[in-house]
């Protein structure tokens, strides 16, 4: 069964078997993953679909004379393992030699003991998962008379086990469970339709809150009814946690050793500089078990650790995997990120901002004229993490005299990443982990450009 201790041992045994085939002069790293997922979608009182899925995969990296070759397969069949190793070996000779290219070495950093696996999820009967999805759909639909439909109401979970083994002696395994509920509501009034989502997350179904997810979806959609397009101008903007977490992920993405070394980070020469408002302390800590993306070991099998990236507005650190660390003459920060189908990259895993002491309502009350943004779109096309330019679609509410006022939509917010960090004027007390590599918190940006009419 996926995710059990047996399964952790099973994936490790496969990784070790591949590593044991190393030829003299050759270093091997094998990553093996086994995952089982369930997904239930409800629509209009019926189960629209029920998916039960099992995935396995292996990625093998071979390094010889400073050159690496890689191959992966979405199966753990014995013949596939041999084929993958052979392909990875064959790919070695085409790479350019690089003295820093190597698999990771054990670094002695102790691995945190995180309890990311809940057997309650594994034991939870499918019927109960189905019932939860149906209940979510029903509650969302009946939350408000203006809810005209529920585009999707979904329960999803996964149980996974993974292992990394290397010829340098790394042996890392992990197992985890996770589940979520998500509802996407449609609200209608006077021929106008608006949408809103609600969410709940946990390590096992008992953590999930159906009523809150439904109520949030209903609230977010109905409060957009009657929305208008705002006038263009420069104005104070409040980012809600869902929005700030997405921006945070992008900002933290610029603080990685690979981007810095390759001249793709706008913060490359700024280590030790004041790059943000003194209010901002930014931490990447995959060992925080509350983080959705928590993990005790990274993509190379090294222990993850707490890394302070920005402290009181000062840029303190870039994150590294073992290769970028060697190139920078430092040590890995345990920040190798990857799936089994790719070589290790570098990135943050669980980044958050140190919270402030005021509630979101208090922050709004302090703004005379502004905008609360509850959703953004086009982050992938509107943010350039190299130049720092950003401009995204947005929807939310106007703030007038410290009160939330009319809903607004079809506008953009724009600035640069550099300027937004220094324009940060307040941080809420509502830090919360969301289903991404970042936590959200209410942020007030002193000035962004709103483009509307």
């Amino acid at each position: 069964m996926a995710g059990t201790r047996d399964d952790e041992a099973g994936v490790l045994a496969i990784a070790e078997r591949v590593v044991a085939m190393a030829a003299p002069g050759e270093a091997i790293e094998a990553v093996v993953v086994h995952e089982r997922e369930t997904e239930v979608r409800a629509y209009e009182g019926e189960i629209e679909s029920l998916t039960s899925a099992e995935s396995r995969g292996i990625g093998v990296r071979v390094v010889r004379d400073g050159r690496q070759g890689f191959a992966y397969a979405g199966t753990l069949d014995a013949d596939a393992l041999i084929e993958v190793l052979g392909e990875a070996r064959d790919n070695v000779e085409f790479a350019t030699p690089d003295e820093h290219c190597a698999v990771a070495e054990p670094d002695g950093v102790p691995v945190a003991d995180l309890d990311l696996y809940q057997s309650a999820l594994v034991d939870h009967p499918t019927e109960a998962k189905v019932a939860m999805a149906l209940e979510l759909e029903r509650l969302t639909r009946s939350a408000d008379p203006r809810i005209s439909g529920v585009e999707s109401a979904e329960y999803g979970d996964s149980v996974s086990a993974s292992a990394v083994a290397t010829t340098t002696g790394i042996r890392a395994t992990s197992r985890e469970t996770g589940c979520f509920l998500s509802a996407y509501a449609l609200a209608e009034q006077d021929g106008e339709t608006q949408t809103g989502f609600g969410f709940s997350l946990g390590r096992e179904p008992g953590d999930l809150d159906v009523a809150t997810a439904a109520a949030e979806a209903a609230e977010r959609s109905t409060r957009m009814l009657g929305s208008v397009k705002p006038a263009s101008g420069r104005i104070a903007v409040v980012l809600d946690p869902w929005v700030s977490a997405q921006f945070l992920g992008i900002v933290a993405g610029t603080l990685n050793g690979e981007s810095v070394q390759k001249g793709r980070s706008l913060f490359a020469d700024r280590l030790g500089d004041e790059v943000a408002s003194p209010l901002l302390t930014l931490v990447d800590d995959p060992t925080d078990p509350a983080a959705t993306s928590a993990t005790a070991t990274d993509g190379e099998g090294l222990a993850t650790r707490r890394n302070v990236l920005v402290s009181g507005g000062r840029l303190e650190r870039f994150v590294h995997n073992s290769e970028t660390a060697r190139r920078a003459g430092t040590t890995s920060t345990g920040s190798a990120v990857r799936g089994y189908s790719s070589t290790p990259g570098v990135g943050v895993r669980a980044v958050s901002i140190l919270g402030g002491d005021r509630t979101p309502a208090e922050l709004v009350a302090g703004i005379d004229d502004g905008v609360l943004v509850q959703a953004v779109s086009g982050l992938h096309s509107g943010v350039n993490p190299v130049s720092g330019d950003f401009s995204t679609g947005a929807e939310g509410l106007r703030i007038r005299a410290g009160e939330l006022a009319e809903p607004i939509r079809e506008f953009t917010i724009a600035s640069t990443i550099q300027k937004m960090l220094t324009d940060l004027v307040a941080i809420g007390d509502d830090v919360q982990w969301l289903p991404m590599r970042a936590a959200g918190v209410t942020l007030v940006i002193g000035e962004l450009t709103v483009s509307g009419v």
């Binding site: 998916t51 039960s52 990875a88 085409f94 790479a95 949408t195 001249g263 130049s387």
Partner: protein, 482 residues
């Protein structure tokens, strides 16, 4: 231009692909899937091999080979679809997936139902001149080095270059309880170059990509050095860029790139699954004038060689050309099997999935706006003050409200009918139904755009798009300039 590849050039036959699993095993699996009283069952088998090579920071960083194979089995009972997938293609693995799918769609009904498959049928797979698998890896890597050299020598301000080569061979096979047995082999080849330019104003980026549903003969037609120089030029141009304007104004989109606009402004809204859930502003509007009368929008999975084409869709239906908007009138939506069946009509060849691990849903293929009669130069000359977008980035849409955004990765101010300063990157935002009615010029310079990956519900599929130069009388440009 030739890339000096030494492989033999024997066009392969493009036969119907049915060689993954034996018909007997597929029929047996379907019988198991139908045993709990299913109304419909389907086995989708996939075997995908891919190669990618990455050059970055002046080094060939890695060559990567991937292999994915497995089967997805779905069973439909009433409103419910049960789905299970497995990477184990043995009789035992398939049986257990079929049982899981049928249990998920449990209907209470029972009894054994034998499924008999017809002989293999369907259109032949596309003919490929040079199978990428037959090309020595060294030739693939050499393309990257040439692109890197060309980009770096284009201008001294180019400070970083990365280039990527990718090819994939996707063999699929489909069998269903209605007796269908068919398959396809889809071969795609892709090349992209990204450059960073550094100047007094900071860093800027430029990217170019080309991708087609063809083999290595792609490089007979595409000069990777030229592609690299264009990417470099784009980054260099933007070093001089001024902040983009903010607010509503006319927007002219250059040839090729505008397809993204239609993809977002109305393409997704014409997908029958979203329409059926009233999650589209275009629901219930068939037969209505939804766009300027000069607008005719087509989705065509049969466009030979284009990025979003195939012989059969991922439900076994042959690709077809579908007219979505004709002379401004909404003529039809796009359909998958499930939605078409509910409406008692034929599908439209738009049932697609990312892999065997995913359920199919309604997806676009190659979506394009037919060419018009206007002179592209006159469209710009006739625009007093606005923005010209030469290259679009990706986009996103909320189909329920129709609000959409798309990025501009190369754009210029239009002042007094002339292109002037390049502008910094940003998004444009508009509303689909309003934007379609605000198109007031369509030129005759039709071109297909860059290869795209379209994401929906967490699944990515390759899509193509194309447009001639066109003007939207009013869109909101999301810049920072007053």
């Amino acid at each position: 231009m030739a890339d000096g590849n030494g492989s033999s050039r024997v066009p392969d036959t493009g036969n119907l692909e049915t060689s993954l699993l034996e018909a007997g095993l597929l029929a047996e699996t379907l019988s198991v899937a139908m045993a709990t009283g299913g109304e419909f069952a389907e086995v989708f088998v996939e075997d995908r091999r891919s190669t990618s090579a990455v050059l970055d920071d002046g080094r060939i960083e890695e060559l990567s080979s991937g292999r994915d194979r497995g089967a997805g089995i779905r069973v439909v009972v009433g409103e419910t679809t049960g789905f299970a997938h497995t990477a184990d293609l043995s009789p035992a693995g398939l049986r257990s997936a079929a049982e899981a799918a049928s249990a998920a769609a449990r209907s209470g009904g029972g009894g054994v139902r034998e499924v008999t498959l017809d002989g293999p049928s369907g259109p032949a797979s596309a003919v490929v001149e040079i199978l990428p698998a037959d090309v020595p890896k060294a030739h693939k890597v050499a393309l990257l080095e040439r692109a890197d050299n060309a980009a770096r020598s284009a201008d001294g301000a180019i400070s970083q270059v990365s280039a990527r080569y990718g090819d994939s061979q996707r063999r699929i096979q489909l069998a269903n309880s209605e007796g269908l047995l068919t398959g396809d082999r889809q071969i795609r080849t892709l090349f992209s170059v990204s450059c960073v330019a550094s100047g007094d104003t900071g860093l800027q980026t430029g990217r170019e990509s080309v991708g087609h549903t063809v083999g290595f003969e792609l490089f007979d037609r595409v000069d990777v050095e030229d592609l690299a120089r264009r990417a470099a030029g784009r980054a260099i141009t933007k070093l001089e860029a001024v902040p983009a304007p903010s607010g509503e104004m006319p927007v002219v989109v250059g040839p090729g790139g505008g397809g993204v606009l239609f993809h977002e402004a109305c393409g997704h809204g014409l997908e029958a699954d979203l329409v059926a859930k009233s999650a589209s502003v275009f629901a219930g509007r068939r037969g209505e004038m939804v766009a300027t009368p000069t607008v005719s929008l087509i989705d065509d999975g049969t466009m030979t060689g284009e990025w979003g084409c195939f012989a059969i869709d991922d439900e076994g239906r042959p690709a077809q050309r579908n007219v979505l908007i004709e002379d401004g009138v909404l003529t039809d939506y796009m359909w998958d099997r499930l939605r078409a069946r509910k409406e008692g009509r034929e599908g439209s060849g738009n049932g697609r999935r990312q892999s065997y691990r995913h359920l199919p849903m309604v997806r676009m293929t190659n979506t394009y706006l037919e060419g018009g009669v206007d002179d592209p130069k006159e469209i710009v000359a006739g625009t007093d003050h606005g923005v010209y977008v030469a290259q679009l980035g990706g986009g996103q849409v909320n189909t329920a409200t129709g609000d959409f955004v798309f990025g501009m990765t190369e754009a210029y101010l239009i002042e007094d009918g002339r292109l002037t300063a390049p502008i910094r990157e940003g998004n444009l935002i508009g509303n689909g139904p309003e934007a379609l009615l605000a198109i007031d010029a369509i030129a005759r310079d039709f071109a297909m755009g860059s290869p795209g990956m379209c994401g929906k519900d967490g699944q990515g599929v390759p899509v193509g798009d194309g447009t001639p130069t066109l003007r939207v009388a009013r869109l909101t440009v999301g810049g920072t300039a007053a």
